[in-house]
Symmetry: C2
């Protein structure tokens, strides 16, 4: 963009490098993170899935609980199946709530899924726990937020917990270490494109 | 959050479902998408990695070219290695540019990586091509934007191309089908936490 001589460019890069190294010097802490992916854009579940893959690649054990069916499906399932010792996948969600129209059943399903998450958070065998689309369940008040906050706050120091879904509650954002908001800039639905294998599922 | 009877809730959900079905009725097109993940937040590469995993899970063939070393590393590599027929991974980047301070070398590396991307886009064997951190290279003007736009626009109708990196050029966003901006809400660096296995790499 900006025209610079090679010398100017190299000097600028050297300065950037020094600044970067200074910042990194103080980053010495290792800790289990509470990570939240929220916002209306795509990529919340997909980025969580990417983290699961990284963790698997490092030989870690990951528990994945899906609160809403369809958010995680056949594509990732096939890959998880290749690492049976590293991933425990619980597809608990019974479909979006507007497909069931039965609140008491939805609450029971949410409770069952949450019990799995809580078990995985409490069990030292799991290095990372992904509660996919948990925010949706909290949004509909299907689970008490306090119970969720209590469990994630009481997690072991090195345990990572990843929670996804739009409309993350403020208290959860407050409790989290890393929060990313995915914002939709452009979506192919506007062109009449349907959900496709490898992209949405 | 809002107090409703089960009946009111179910009626509301039924209405939501009908609206959802009406929207989905018109989503009949299947096409290869140009997907851009940009913004300053985390999750751009991670969400792209999640898409690669989904595509692999569907038996598709994916080409992955890494323009900046370190963005994709050991974690995903180990998982890719489990699917040698489905993923071709080219870790081309030679480290962030401030580590080399040699612009002409950086440009040569960018060119080499881009040639791989272009080959994969042109080759019908690949269903999806990920050009990870290509936007960084474009930002530094290491590759002509026109060349990139030409190649992605001329892709086969069913080919997905995913491009990541902050500061996506306007013309690329214009050309894309799906654009998500990852916005940083909260980052653990502020607490002195360093990059950790399973999260950043």
């Amino acid at each position: 963009m900006v025209e610079r001589t090679d010398e100017q460019h190299n000097a600028k890069m050297k300065k950037k490098q020094a600044a970067h190294e200074k910042i990194m010097e103080n980053k010495t802490v290792e800790k289990g993170l509470l990570i939240v992916h929220t916002g209306k854009g795509k990529g919340k579940t997909t980025a969580a899935l990417g983290m699961v893959v990284r963790a698997i690649g490092h030989g870690k054990k990951v528990g994945v609980v899906q609160f809403v069916k369809g958010a995680m499906t056949t594509g990732e399932k096939a890959v998880f199946d290749a690492f049976p010792d590293n991933v425990e996948f619980k597809p608990m969600g019974e479909g979006f709530t507007w497909n069931t129209q039965d609140r008491s059943r939805d609450i029971a399903v949410a409770r069952e899924a949450w019990d799995e998450v809580r078990r995985m958070i409490a069990d030292p065998a799991y290095d990372m726990v992904l509660a996919d689309e948990l925010n949706i369940v909290l949004r509909y008040d299907y689970l008490p937020l306090d119970e969720v906050l209590e469990a994630v706050t009481a997690r072991a120091p090195m345990k990572h917990v990843v929670i996804t879904g739009r409309n993350a509650p403020d208290a959860l954002i407050e409790a989290a270490d890393l929060v990313t908001e995915m914002t939709q800039v452009k979506h192919p639905f506007r062109q009449g494109v349907k959900a496709q294998a490898g992209i949405e599922f």
